[in-house]
Amino acid sequence: MNSRKDFTCPEVVETPSRFRNPIGKYRLYRTDDCIACGKCVELCPYGVHVMRRGMVFVEHPYRCVGPDCPEPCYKACPENALSLKRNQDFDALGDFRWTADLLTSTWHMAEFGRVPSAGLEYKIGDSGGGFDKLRLVLPKSEKSSVAEDASGKPDMGLELNRRGDDAHRIRIPVPFYGGGMSFGSVSIHTMLSRVRAAAALGTFCCTGEGGYPDELIPYDDHMITQVATGLFGVREETIQRVKIVEFKYAQGAKPGLGGHLLGDKVTPSVARMREAVVGYPLFSPFPFHSVYSVEDHKKHVDWIKAINPKALVSVKVSTPTDVDMVAVGSYYAGAHIIHLDGSYGGTGAAPDIAKKNIAMPIEYALPKVHRFLEEEGVRDKITVIASGGIRTPHDIAKTIALGADGVCIGTADLVALECVRCHNCESGRGCARGIATTDPELMEQINDDWGTRRIINMYLAWIVELARILKRLNMKSIRELVGRTDCLVHLDYMQKES
């Protein structure tokens, strides 16, 4: 499965929520009629009920799958002491993209390392278009059952250097890596959790544009460092330290606007890392003031190659109308990876008007780029990575079928760390839940080991799910899925007769 000899896939370590009351879709209430017969404890396959000192408690109500349960305890209770209700906190969670179902099912994956067996929609959100209207077309189960028994695990690996030049040959065993989140926008604990999870899976994680904290040095082999327009924390040694260098031209959440770290988040440690003044907002201008053409861009790529000749160069761009030209230009300038960042991802502060309106969704940009690179005859010479709103293993499969080689993950990592999508990452001291903050008190809510295990678990659940999808498709490798739009159906255009 993987070229590295020392690499073994980590195992799931059950990692429960760091909060006392995890949020689930349902709640079970027990009245005093309970005679502690233990029937519910026996019946429940999910461990919701626990018997202690002769009493039965609803210990883990968030695990309850509600009406989907094969043997509902509330129906079997001899004393009618149990009642099932929907959790109203659940209904106050989530939005169109990350529905409460997606949030809680991602938390489930981060805890148990597998997709929820019932009760939650973990495959799609509720945005009413794009990924949420696309479905995978799979042969009916009985057809593929023979192949399922015969074949082993499908190969998920992805070769990142497809140019075949002198730069590193890097093969990641999974078709995804971690997107850039800067030190400053997120805490060192969040960064370490993501990086260590990436390292455990043999893949990569990007520093974002906020410098390269010393804590990350042990994971150099799994780091991508970003060179963005503000050049914060970019030094010769940071470029030389890594195997992949990413140029960020634009980002999907605020295309054409550059970055902005609000003054409150410029704490002493952030200011030191970025060589700036504490408490002053930091602007990352737009665009690169030294790049006005593909030729200028080539000069940038050459500059990286002069400093670190073995490094792979990734170019992160947003999705304007001419994204296909940008992609092919990047290839001719010498990039190994073209990273398309669609408009629905993003983890930092951005004007609402930009997030909603500027640049096109990744679902449109990706097939356009894929086709154009094919027509140019260079598609197999460059790695296409997509990001911006990829939330689930099904999103990954759909993205690859639309023409990407792999994907970049951002928000999902944070959700594994129990982000609730309250959209207040930027205000005041930052994230109240300690994820997207550098506030010395708030960030201590995250323990590195806990965070690492949560993200690893989520990734493992994804890999299992992706493997299941590939097996259903009778594919031995995820490479076979690239550009296979025939494996997709869009519900709005589905022919009625079939």
Partner: protein, 465 residues
Amino acid sequence: MPVKYVIHTKTVPHRFEPVTRSGVIAWEEGCLKCAVCVKTLCIYHVYDHRGLNAYQMIDSIDNECMNCFRCVQSCPKELIHKSVNPEFEAIGDGYWTPNIISRLWYQAETGKIPVSGAGYPGPFSGPGFDSMWTDMSEIVRPTRDGIHGREYISTGVDIGRKPICLTFNREKKLQSEVTGVINIPLPIMLRVPSFGSITGETVNGWAMAAKRLATMLAVPEEEMSPDLEDFAANIIPIVKEKSLRNANVSGQHPVVEIDTTAAAAASREDTVTAGPDRITVVIIPLEEGIEQRALELVEKGFSVLHIEGSRQSTFLDNPSLSLKDGIRAVHLKLVEENVRDQVTLLASGGLAMAEHVAKAIICGADAVYVDFPLLVALECRMCQRCTKDLSCPVHIEEASPEWVALRTINLLGAWHNQLLEVMGAMGIRDARRLRGEAGRAMFFEDLDESTFGSLGELKEGYELE
């Protein structure tokens, strides 16, 4: 370069507590009286100074809660819960959603553009303007020192009869007279909305705002009062059911708006004698076939047309067609007939967010009128009680003109900055050049079918997941 146009904003507090989306439900029964209660750990200090607004029956914790769910997830007896506030959900209607309204309140209060963390949480696309995206440019810089720098992005536009060329005499002095054109520094004009609990004072406030913003305020004839004389240069009287000759209200207004019947009745001479200096705007109701009617009016000599859509940003006679489509149709017709550059196109109807301004211009409008956002800036909830002669829940009629003016300026200040963001991302430095740049936008109807239209086949023996 001309002086940079800046709208100065400052916080103008609300008179009533805004209704917010989230509610907190916390009760005491069964409370363990923990030594360190989770409520004391709230990083937003929501529980520290809890109070009840007895007039509006709003609990301060509901309005201040930032939805981090920490207390909900930490209380050992699970006595704290979150819910969605039904009063919030009930605000507005299907088009003027609670979210749009509360964002307008925020902008009118602070003058700031709405900024939030994490990615866009909304639907993939939607009807009307929600089915288009604006372009960005990876490498073209808008200005040398950022969108708010000294070298600025111009949002100024011209309203009126635009000469197609200028003539000069032998001494290279300008020979042709340029009259009947005004320049406004932002492509947004104000318009008194068709309902609202408003008085002369409210209209006065909007007129003050129009004057300070150097833009125009369109006022229906029946709402005109002597108080507005000070602001005559910034007021467009809307004259109804009068012939063009009789529409020349008092002579101080540089622009007058007439309805389409008056324009239809006018002869070509009428439009000429209406005065070369005066700009006559003709309202065209947005109905099917509008592009033909627009062309007829232009041929008759009218040069400023105002496309008036419904409050939901649709055609008046067909709710399935949107203002976006109407503007594009008129714009393209005038381009086809080679008269587009002489004409000014204004648009109104359901323009509820800053992005609608940019998108209306991309579709082909020169400038827009905003109406109901002006009312929402004054805390209106679009409940329409006033249309039934019932009391206004936020007593807009009691607001002072100064407060009205400042709230309006804040709103327009926030919109102006958002327009700069969109133009900056596209690398466009002049609002005049944004007009009709449909190639710099992406339309759902073009992209969705061409990308996904072929993905509709489900073969025998296959299933969807």
